[in-house]
Symmetry: C2
Subunit: 239 residues, 2 copies
Amino acid sequence: MAGIPDEIAGSLIGDILSGRYQVRDRLPSERDLATRFSANRGAVREAMKKLEQIGLAEIQPGGARVKDTSEASLDVLGHMLGQGDLPDALLVDQILVVINSLLSVAAEQTLELASENELASIRALTLPFLEDKLSDEAHTLARFELMRSIMLTNKNLPLQLIAKTLFEQVAPHLAHLKQHVVIDHDAFATFARQLDRALAERDLPAVHATFTAFSNLNRESMLRAFERARRQAREASLS
Amino acid sequence: MAGIPDEIAGSLIGDILSGRYQVRDRLPSERDLATRFSANRGAVREAMKKLEQIGLAEIQPGGARVKDTSEASLDVLGHMLGQGDLPDALLVDQILVVINSLLSVAAEQTLELASENELASIRALTLPFLEDKLSDEAHTLARFELMRSIMLTNKNLPLQLIAKTLFEQVAPHLAHLKQHVVIDHDAFATFARQLDRALAERDLPAVHATFTAFSNLNRESMLRAFERARRQAREASLS
DNA sequence: CCGACCAAATTGGTCAGACCAAAATTCACG
DNA sequence: CGTGAATTTTGGTCTGACCAATTTGGTCGG
């Protein structure tokens, strides 16, 4: 299922992101890589094309060179998060900042453009947060559903694409952390009430303020989850 | 310089975006395409890989299928903008909305994290807008430099990557429109003064409000440019 | 000793033809 | 008329080859 080119690309990406190949270094030739990976040059070539598409390498006749991460495409994020045992907490936080700001924009545009029906269907998604005995899983599900709905109701294609990409990059690496996340149900209930009111009254500043609060909730809860995960990792290494 | 696979990919992308291949349709086989483009199957294969990376096609043993634009990567935007004679005005507007909201986030984070020196260097970039006799070109240059600086001072890598990608996608297609853009120097001067003050006092809400104004300025000026371009195109078609 | 220039080796770009496994298609059978 | 097996089609990978651009290394002249 993996595919040989993807394996090669993954290995090379790991080498680059771990610093084994420095920026501006020349990567081994396609022929050398083919030998090293016991694969055909065509497979290596597809892997190199992937590196180029991700923006980690620049291919030219004469040789391929490593490019800086800051010149890469969004797809590097997933690979960067997958480097260590735990994802980079700072990077995850930065992604959350962006996601939440995009949510805010989406919501603001929804206020301007969405029909009453669309608005109502979003507001309905805030109801689960008011329930008393919501399991953590159901809560997480409700959060995602609310975010997804806000992103889809919005007609801004670029916004949708960015959000989708960010989610896809970060989601797989957050799966392990899920067990460490502790949800502040009361805080989210307050948020849900505020969001519902802001949407009902089409109060744009209130929507913005609400999502700022939502953002802070998410970021703090994620940072705490990282702390717990790290602590557990330390204890495990002592035994 | 173009490269055979890129030519093939470009042709297929055009066919997909223009609707010649509908979503979920099967694309011709690699062998057929190789014949049609008088190219080797390897070249066609690389083109198909590119389609897959862009997110416009899904390749599986048995055949490749067209995917919906909403499931693509950010890189489709550039191709979508390059479809007609003029870029899609609505799409450009949506991109501007996103860019400007990202600018706002970047600026807000700068307020929290940037040193006095970094802040000062950004503030210095607002000065050109106060000059009286600034040519349109110099004005555009100053705008870009200000945006670039805000994006780079910020330490948020995902934010930088998204902004860079969006710029790269949209910039080439805006080159033709530049001649139609009329700049409201006074409005930008007001914006510059407000931004400078907001940064100096690290006034977060003011920064947000300022960028909202900036966003509206940019969007309106671009929409007007589209109108002018369309009008000129109509007149040209009459002659 | 150094820089400019030229030839050889290296490298990516493309092509041709082949085999395999998985999917799609066809078709005979119940 | 369905259904399941057989066949064809399709993508995935491999081997080996040639070309053009680049890099490299050495040579020559200053």
